[in-house]
Point group: C2
Chain length 199, copies 2
Amino acid sequence: MSMPGRGRPRDMAVDRVILRAALDLFIERGVEGFSIEQIAKRARVGKPTIYRRWSNKEELIAAAMETLIAEEVHWASAEAVDTESPYALVEAAIESAAVTTAAPHYRALVARVYGSAVSCPALMAVYWDHYVRPRRELATRLLERARDCGTVAADADLDVAIDMMVGAITYRVLQPDPPGVDDMRHYLRAVYRQIGLLP
Amino acid sequence: MSMPGRGRPRDMAVDRVILRAALDLFIERGVEGFSIEQIAKRARVGKPTIYRRWSNKEELIAAAMETLIAEEVHWASAEAVDTESPYALVEAAIESAAVTTAAPHYRALVARVYGSAVSCPALMAVYWDHYVRPRRELATRLLERARDCGTVAADADLDVAIDMMVGAITYRVLQPDPPGVDDMRHYLRAVYRQIGLLP
């Protein structure tokens, strides 16, 4: 995507190549299975080019997950969450969420992220702060609005409700006989209905 | 545990040492990080002693998880699930579940199991068939009874409900700032309440 007059399109292209290489290596080998040097080699850049942008491997992997996943998953804006109907917002997100979560590289990424949570807590911590927390805040606002509408239980623990949705979906894709897009469409509906985000 | 007159106590002790060694190595290094030979070495037995009992590493790890976790988690019997009140059964299980799920080695085990789900699907498949499936059948019966009692929604998808409970709990223990026993006690109550298994 070139944006004339908006700065450094060349650098953005380099960033993208580095982030892609980091994400691919992470999915192939896990966080302990590769080095910054191997990312540089695969992205055909020098190590200093990487270190000018990210100070360590965990930050780079977290940034890679954030940038590349954000392009696939279409999140509602904060404004939409505050003004549109919760049911309509969730309904509008189902199709893209079903396609994303049924993809083999999504499953592989979930396995790697969970797999490194205890042996490499730094990655989970960076990922959580930069990526998960802001999205959870948005999800909390959505659940609060649905609670105001009376579809989510008045006494529901919203943090736990978010864990139940994210936890179920990520657990499901790691089970034997991984789901296809149709399965996930059906599955996501059942999850959101259980919480009160779909009728 | 010696059981006079009940067969081969010596073999059971050997089994236990092998299973313990396999589980420890799995937690330390992940499924790809060690061999049957290394299990034999740590358990101080010959490789044939292992192969007489288990035909491959995945079966051995699955057996290790099953045997050693079953000792920690106190599951209700099928008979109890069919006759006692669902609320009472869940209430009785909270304390042991909180202690188990807050333990560092439980977190490490969850991370390893999820982490190997895509790179080594054989382990998840064996674990699922031998260990998860029978427990899910028990959980389904519990949810059916709770549905008959009117506390679980009549139209709830019970497989999805089980995923939401297991998924939330395993996701929670992998998050930054892992929970202690008190946190898990509170957390489990919120999860079960959301599904309708506690008032």
